[in-house]
């Protein structure tokens, strides 16, 4: 018997060669390996490359203006109007005008991110201040504090417009937060979208593996020869996965609310219902996608494709309002976009079912669509 080496580079290379050859044989995996990173980089490039802009706000300019008399000459000023037109030319915000009350309602129901009002004596106070009086003009802003990026962008736009008009100082910003008047911590604000991200990732992964494992174990080909129909099998998978999905939802919510103390201003039951709905949607998506994965490797590669695309497009990183309009349209096809709105609505804004009916209906519709697609594509015989 020849002496066996303790370490043999050629054995190492044999393993390397074997792995690479196996991958090379799996054409679908190669396609996914090229396509998925390229697509994800592309989406992130588009999303992160843009700056936050076009945020809808409402301004109620009550400013009556002020006329300065200097001998024969008199000059009229209206700083409110000047700030308004400066804001109008700022593409970070998209300006509407109307009553402050209308604006506040709009912020409460998500139409605007902020409502701003300049008082009747705005110009007067500023001019008197300029003449030496130590007074400040109050500007009231009622703002959505559920997204720090948006909040900062709106405030920056306002500050720069004020500054453009009459330099720094002289204005007191009276900031009122919508949704219970809470200034949310960054943890509070991120938890809703983290919940949808974790649900997407874990539910998809578990569901895909459970189903694809049946294919690779060889049992599936045996099941084809039993009275079990493809529809029955699919329904069986779905119910089992729904039970798992509910357990996973429970864990995610427990961690988010119990451990990290995230705020839930709305109903917990509604939150759980919404989370289970979103988990079901992902289960049906997985059942559908499992048709396109022949092995666990292919299945697992589909998961980051969906989670990362969702992360980029759902508004989790950058507000959807700032996307180019065609990317905004694309975002409307991402289920997580609606899930984020749903969870944010319940947790941060304290919305009830009446405010969120649209999200519930759309998510249920997408879930139903995925289920129908799964039923239509489920295999009930061996590959020809």
């Amino acid at each position: 018997m020849s002496k066996t080496k303790n370490f043999s580079p050629s054995r190492v290379i044999a393993v390397t060669w074997r792995v690479l050859t196996q991958i090379r044989r799996d054409r679908r995996t190669i396609a996914l390996m090229i396509f998925i990173p390229a697509l994800i980089m592309l989406i992130f490039g588009f999303v992160l490359g843009g700056q936050t802009k076009n945020l809808p706000i409402l301004v109620d300019n009550q400013d009556a203006g002020y006329t300065v008399h200097a001998g024969q000459n008199s000059t009229s000023f209206n700083f409110g109007n000047e700030v308004l037109s400066s804001l109008q030319s700022d593409d970070q915000v998209k300006l509407s005008q109307g009553s402050f009350e209308l604006g506040k309602t709009g912020v409460d129901n998500g139409t605007y991110y902020a409502a701003i009002t300049f008082p009747a004596n705005f110009t007067e106070v500023l001019i008197l201040r300029n003449a030496g009086q130590s007074i400040n003009a109050p500007v009231t802003i009622y703002i959505d504090g559920t997204n720090p990026t948006i909040e900062a962008t709106v405030l920056a736009a306002l500050q720069s417009s004020l500054q453009n008009t009459f330099g720094s100082g002289g204005v007191v910003l009276n900031e009122q937060f919508a949704f219970g008047g809470i200034q949310f911590s960054s943890l509070d604000i991120s938890i809703p979208s983290v919940i949808s991200l974790v649900l997407t990732q874990t539910v998809l992964l578990v569901s895909l593996i459970v189903i694809v494992r049946e294919t690779t174990s060889g049992v599936l080909s045996r099941l084809y020869a039993t009275p079990l129909s493809a529809f029955e099998r699919l329904l069986g998978y779905s119910i089992a996965l729904l039970i798992l999905g509910m357990a996973m939802t429970g864990i995610v919510l427990f961690m988010g609310l119990g451990i990290f103390g995230a705020i839930v201003q709305g109903s917990f039951a509604l939150l759980f219902l919404g989370a289970v709905l979103y988990a079901s949607l992902n289960i049906f998506l997985a059942v559908f996608l499992s048709n396109f994965a022949r092995n666990e490797l292919q299945a697992v590669q589909l998961v980051p494709l969906i989670t990362l695309t969702s992360m980029a497009l759902s508004g989790m990183l950058i507000p959807v309002d700032s996307f180019p309009s065609w990317v905004q349209t694309l975002a409307k096809f991402i289920p997580m976009y609606y899930a984020n709105k749903l969870f944010e609505g319940i947790m941060l804004k304290g919305y009830g079912i009446s405010n969120l009916a649209q999200q519930f209906i759309i998510l249920s519709g997408i879930a139903a669509l995925f289920f129908v697609l799964a039923v239509m594509t489920v295999k009930d015989k061996m590959a020809d």
Binding site: G218, V219, S221, R222, L223, Y224, A225, T226, P227, K381
Partner: protein, 256 residues
């Protein structure tokens, strides 16, 4: 070329005419104009080299794989058209173990029993019959991944027999089973056949094939010889089926 249609069993339970299967991937003609007739209570052995089309044939007979052309009748019903009805009356033990390895022996068999709508009490009664015969009594609560290859094979057979089918398909059923147990199995198969069960099995173990009532020898998707073991041996003046097989397979070793 032999003509199997000259054989007419009293009560045919499986009939195929000009059965063809061409796989899309690779355009391989796996089964090429197969005519089979198998009678009730027969033990029928499909023999042939690897890649000769035995498993493809079984998959089509069970309705799991759709033929490219040709006709299949199982228990008088068209397959794959009526395959869900046929499925209730057949059992299949595929070539790979095809079991849920995380489940116990009993859980695996019970899963299949439920697919055939067996109620709990008749399942338990049936389990008490099957486990001693298949020598699995002590493994009832053992997870399948802890079993040896031969034991897994027996669990797989139990899953195929649990609902007392009228036809059972055993693809390479006795691979990995030791000779003593194999002899015992054959006695068991014989008793089942006498009770009216039709057994279709594939094998490339020739001495095993000699125990069958009738044999179909496949090569490159075609039936090249058929009949009772005695008839075949006489026709080729051979002392064993293995000799016949080697003679007919000469120069025709198909790739797996």
């Amino acid at each position: 070329m032999v003509n199997p249609s000259s054989y007419s069993p009293k009560e045919p339970v499986i009939e195929t005419s000009n059965l063809v299967k061409i796989y899309k991937e690779g355009a391989i003609k796996a089964v090429d104009g197969l005519n089979l007739k198998i009678g009730k209570g027969e033990i029928y052995a499909l023999i042939g080299a690897n890649g000769s089309g035995k498993t493809t044939t079984i998959s089509m007979l069970t309705g799991s794989l759709f033929p490219t052309s040709g006709e299949i009748r199982v228990l008088g019903l068209q397959v794959p058209k009526k395959r869900r009805i046929v499925a209730a009356a057949i059992g299949v033990a595929p070539q790979e173990y095809a079991l849920y390895s995380d489940l116990t022996v009993e859980q695996n068999i019970s899963f299949f029993a439920k697919l055939y709508n067996m109620d709990r009490s008749s399942f338990l009664k049936r389990l008490d019959e099957l486990l001693p015969i298949l020598k699995l009594n002590e493994r009832r609560k053992t997870a399948v991944y802890n079993l040896s290859g031969g034991m897994k094979r027996r669990v797989s057979i139990a899953c195929a027999l649990v609902h007392q089918p009228r036809i059972v398909f055993l693809d390479e059923a006795t691979v990995g089973i030791d000779p003593v147990l194999r002899a015992f199995f054959w006695d068991y198969f014989r008793s089942l056949a006498e009770a009216g069960l039709t057994i279709v099995l594939t094998s490339h173990v020739m001495d095993e094939a000699e125990r069958a009532d009738r044999i179909g020898l496949m090569r490159a998707g075609k039936l090249i010889e058929y009949g009772t073991p005695e008839e075949i041996k006489q026709r080729h003046s051979a002392s064993s089926i293995e000799q016949v097989f080697l003679k007919l397979s000469e120069g025709a070793v198909a790739d797996e």
